[in-house]
């Protein structure tokens, strides 16, 4: 594994976070949007918001949580067909052309997840797919920790009862 060297220019917290954050956010969108091209545009839009706000951004894990909060709002816009097309992500579009679709989807699980209220579903998926703790996932969605835990537990019970 080759690593390129630090050449001395200052690095902001957002820049430091991007090498890990960008693949995480891209995966988040790919898992939730039907078309990989939409995922590329959604990532692009999320990054623009983060760049604009970079002076006031938190650091470390708080930054990751904040970024996913932005991504969640971008996702909602994308799901409503309101994602702005900026042609910034052409190369990423091309790179995502061959992203494999799920060859053996768990239809029953998909159905059970679809039956949950949107915020509860996202709470479960942020924990299961994106590696957040329950309270952190709740913060991404604007929920207090106790409310997040209660919703999470209730959502899981509903899922188990349907599967």
């Amino acid at each position: 594994m080759l690593r390129l060297r630090n050449r001395g220019r200052g690095v902001t917290p957002l820049e430091s976070a991007l090498p890990e954050l960008m693949p995480d956010l891209l995966g988040f969108f790919v898992r939730r949007l039907g078309h990989p091209e939409d995922a590329a545009d959604a990532l692009s839009e999320t990054l623009i918001v983060l760049w604009r706000k970079q002076r006031g951004l938190p650091e470390g894990e708080d930054l990751r949580r904040y970024a996913f909060g932005v991504a969640r709002k971008v996702l909602l816009a994308a799901q409503r067909g309101r994602l702005r097309q900026r042609d910034l992500a052409d190369a990423l579009h091309d790179a995502l052309v061959d992203v494999a679709v799920d060859s053996a989807p768990d239809h029953d699980l998909q159905k059970a997840l679809a039956a949950l209220p949107a915020r509860d579903r996202e709470l479960v998926l942020l924990v299961a797919w994106e590696g957040f703790g329950v309270a952190e996932a709740g913060a991404v969605l604007g929920l207090r920790p106790d409310a997040a835990r209660a919703r999470y537990s209730r959502a899981r019970s509903r899922l188990r009862s349907k599967l």
Partner: protein, 234 residues
Amino acid sequence: MTIDETQLDDRLRASRRADPVVAPVILAELAVATQTAARTTRRHRIGAIAIAGTLLIAGGTATAPAIADGVNHFLAVLDIPIGSGTEIIEDSPWVDPAASDFPEFVESIYPDYLVLAPGWSREQVVEAVVGAAANSDGLSQAIGYQYQMEVVASCGWAAEWLAADAEDDQSRLSAASLALAETVDWPALAAVDGGGVTDVQRALAEGASAGDHWAVTSWMQGMACSGFGIGVAA
């Protein structure tokens, strides 16, 4: 019947689509493009005074747009790992062939050690590489363009060898064969030798030395000399 917590976790985990694997340079390009887009929008919002400030901040980029400075920043300063098995060369900056100063940039990295075939000039080599880059998409590393200039020079010598062979001019054949033997040691060819480029070059030199017309023509075809405007019949 319901499933238990562990079974639910297992099914959730199994349903997770893996993160797509994307080359770091593509993500770095997107990071730079979105940063620029964010700046541009803000600039429009806060007016002309801010424009001056933004341009000052971006001054390093403005001096050399062919060097994709932002992309290099993300790849190098942020210590982004590059997977093994790629042909990415450490310490060679990424260059945007669409930049307005790209021809000047290629001229600035011209390898002075190149020995050119009769009828060839430094300007023609640069022009051939710049012309070929106009038909390509995306960024390449600077060393890639030095490599291309070495290939153009080699193509020139191969064409000279074929012309001499056609005229049965032994003196020119000998000079061309010697020149082609020298190309094996050209550094950019060696640096990007992820897949045996120098072996190919060595085979050309040996073929030329042995009077093997087919070895020279097939090398020219394999290295796509025609893409630089140098045909087999030249």
